[in-house]
Amino acid sequence: MRVLLEYMIGDRVRFISHLDFMRTIQRTIRRAGIPVAYSEGFNPHPKLSFGLPLPVGVTSSAEYMDIILSSPMDTEETKDLLNTHLPRGIAVTAAVGISPSAPSLMSLIKRADYRITLDTALPGLESGIQSFLQQAEIPYDKPGKKGVNRINIRDSVFSVEAGRDARREILVSMKTGGSSSVKPEVIAEKIAELAGVEAHVKMELTIHRTGLYMHYDGRWVTPLMLKEG
């Protein structure tokens, strides 16, 4: 049985890395007594797979992973058991059964939405967003393993808009994967620059991932759409 989990990462655990999270979930599964399937071999590991890794320091309302069970378990029960045994700050918000043959989350997720909050209000934020959207080409030198790579970050976003607090919040919808993907703070820094903040000024940001989406039948949907039956 394959179970898809949606979970949130809260403020009090926002500094854990993706590897830290994977270790945590494996131990949570053991504490909770979830009948997870293990791989064969000398170093057996539980059959888990994850969506898009969450950057260190970023919180999230909706992350996804799936787990293969060696024997069936009610999805609600799975969710409740995990929540009882997860560290405070991490919680499973939904669990659904999905087809064992469904493609991997990693390959399905194409869009990540973020809410970026600036510590200090920036009066020109909205105009910065407008000028970001108006440009066709916004070059950025992306650091990579073989030196920097010049990319166009205008290409890496689907949409950008100001949030409820228009002088502090940026809502950005970003493409995931591919060579043009960048960290959300890169977009925020560019917008701030376009709004008149000097490029070398380090801004204090709070970044929250609001959702991850896949494209299905001409719409953006969450991976929970994979639910069987």
Partner: protein, 611 residues
């Protein structure tokens, strides 16, 4: 500074999770609801400190008390220290993020000498006066425990109290006395005087040290009434009755020992003469099989850990090791919990264990012959023969292991060129053992790692009177071994002799070293056990500045009747026993395992029926 600001700062440094807290099983209490706040400090980074079993025990033990909230604090890595100083953020505890200066106690565990400058740095970051005599009623009491506390004279000026021996019972006594003092009121000395009457508590300021003109200690004498002339360590009598946590904090980050540590016994009966742990943790006390199996069940359930290690000074000596390994495997195999057996002794190693263990996980095997020849092994009383080693290696290779580490020490008393050649001989023998195993039974890709550390004479051991080899001598020996060990399948690694030298100075230091330490710290010394931060030059300058000679501490042979700076501390093992062991060492005579018959070390004095 509020939590949001602290979080902001944490987000700017490497490995922020070190300072985050909030791990599973972290204890949360309302600080306003307790009478005592205790900050348990490990003077190194999180991933090292969190690997320490003693801290886990005392943390959960203290938090069992409703009147106490124990929190944790580790040494901030230099990038974090810089940020904290820039932002004027004082050292805070992981649980509440409150400044540790507001706590009643700041307790350090002293696991190695090269962490001492981190103690000073943490006090400074906490804004607690470094010198105990400068502290007021507004400051916490600074207490230290752990193996290095037995000779904590170099830190004496910075500590209010020292806890000697096992803390489980002592800490309760101390907290009770503190509560009483707090309710009655009084100055700091009033509490310290009461605390000094608790067995195992040493208050350095209540002892005066006199020196002779040549720099040796003349006498250490109490300067108050009601203070014992010798402080005897605390020992827990029954390991089945003493507290052991059934839940422990599960860190998010990958720490050094990221597993359940099941403490199977304390003490060691082998009597290796270089080994301080083997002397100061006497006598041997085992936990019963039933208790251990029960604890393992509970700990796996409460942590979800995927690995258990059996913890002790000499795991192979546990009287029911076979049963324990078999039962643990049988119970937890279905949950894929693996078992690792560290510090396995050669002479008790058996093929069956190897096969049991590899059912789940196959890590490298480690053997510690410590010396290259039988003669030198007799000197240090390491009762392993070449035949033992050869048989164990052949067994291991025959069971599919191909990665073996052999640990040795160089600079041991009476060592000659022949002993170093013996190390290379054993390396070649290991290769031969491998090729002696039928080709179909052995795993391809043999790797033998020979690792040497440099001998550091430690207080409370038979070698406490011995000089250390000089840095130059150790380097020469390492060069020689590099040449001797240029062998196929063999790698050689060694320790920096400069850090071993400083370790030797601190280990047998007296109170005057405190000034040197303060100077070195002011000149930037911290994280001395980390090669990238250690600078011997900084320390040598500090010695010059303070007018003290480090060679006096590291390289000098002591006389039998010399008053040692730690003679007023009683570990149970008598000085007379240590001297007789020292003499036997020089005569290349061995002393049998004291499980076979009592060797009269003196520890029996500490209690009826202890051993």
């Amino acid at each position: 500074m509020n939590k949001g600001q602290i979080d902001r700062l944490i987000g700017q440094v490497s490995k922020p999770v070190r300072y985050m807290g909030n791990e599973y099983n972290m204890v949360e209490k309302d600080p306003a609801s307790v009478e005592i706040r205790f900050a348990f400090a490990f003077p190194d980074v999180y991933e090292i400190g969190m690997s320490h079993l003693g801290m886990k025990i005392l943390y959960h033990l203290m938090n069992e008390r409703e009147d106490t909230y124990c929190e944790r604090v580790f040494a901030p890595w230099p990038d974090m220290e810089t940020k904290m100083r820039e932002a004027n953020l004082p050292l805070f505890a992981l649980e509440t993020k409150d400044p540790v200066s507001e706590f009643d106690f700041l307790g350090f565990t002293l696991q190695y000498e090269l962490s001492y400058t981190n103690v000073l740095n943490m006090l400074d970051l906490a804004r607690i006066p470094l010198l105990a005599r400068d502290r007021t009623l507004d400051d916490p009491f600074v207490i230290a425990g752990g193996p290095c506390a037995f000779n904590c004279e170099p830190l004496a000026d910075f500590l209010d109290l020292v806890a000697l021996g096992e803390g489980e019972e002592l800490i309760g006594d101390l907290l009770d006395v503190y509560k009483q003092w707090k309710s009655e009121g009084g100055d700091r000395d009033a509490f310290l005087l009461r605390a000094a009457r608790i067995p195992g508590i040493y208050v350095p300021k209540f002892y005066d040290v006199e020196y002779m003109d040549d720099g040796r200690v003349k006498a250490v004498t109490p300067n108050r009434d009601g203070v014992p002339s010798r402080v005897v360590k605390r020992v827990v009598k029954d390991l089945d009755r003493v507290y052991f946590p059934d839940r422990i904090i599960v860190p998010f980050m990958d720490i050094v020992h990221d597993r359940i540590m099941l403490e199977i016994f304390r003490g060691c009966t082998k009597g290796c003469r270089f080994c301080q742990a083997g002397m100061i943790y006497r006598p041997v006390r085992e936990r019963s099989l039933e208790t251990l199996l029960d604890l393992a069940d509970k700990l796996i359930r409460s942590t979800g850990y995927e690995e258990i290690s059996l913890s002790s000074l000499s795991t192979g000596d546990y009287s029911r090791l076979e049963d324990l390994v078999r039962d643990l495997m049988a119970r937890h195999w279905s949950e894929r919990v693996s078992l690792s057996l560290p510090s396995l002794r050669l002479d008790s190693f058996a093929r069956e264990y190897i096969e049991q263990v590899q059912r789940v996980k196959k890590t490298g095997l480690t053997f510690a012959p410590e010396a290259g020849t039988q003669r030198l092994r007799n000197v240090i009383n390491k009762g392993i023969t070449q035949e033992d080693l050869s048989r164990s290696l052949t067994d291991a290779f025959g069971s599919g292991w191909n990665n073996v580490k052999l640990y040795f020490m160089i600079g041991l008393p009476t060592e000659t060129t022949e002993d170093l050649e013996g190390i290379a001989y054993l390396a070649r023998m290991a290769v031969d053992c491998y090729y002696g195993v039928e080709k179909s039974k052995r795993e391809k890709g043999l790797k033998i790692t020979i690792s040497t550390s440099s001998f550091v004479p430690k207080p409370f051991t038979p070698f406490q009177w011995e000089p250390q080899d000089t840095i130059e001598e150790l380097r020469e020996k390492q060069h020689m071994l590099q040449k001797l060990l240029k062998l196929k399948h063999v790698d050689y690694s060694w320790h920096d002799p400069e850090t071993s030298f400083l370790e030797a100075v601190m280990a047998r230091g007296d109170r005057r070293i405190g000034q040197v330490m303060l100077t070195a710290w002011q000149n930037g010394a911290r994280f001395d056990s980390w090669a990238e931060h250690f600078s011997l030059g900084r320390w040598m300058d500090a010695f010059t500045e303070c007018g003290l000679d480090p060679y006096f501490y590291a390289y000098r042979k002591r006389d039998r009747d010399e008053v040692l700076p730690w003679d007023h501390i009683d570990t149970g093992v008598s000085k007379a026993f240590l001297w007789s062991e020292y003499m036997k060492a020089l005569n290349e005579e061995t002393t049998p395992d004291c499980r076979l018959s009592c060797t009269g070390c003196g520890v029996r004095r500490l209690g009826e029926g202890l051993c």
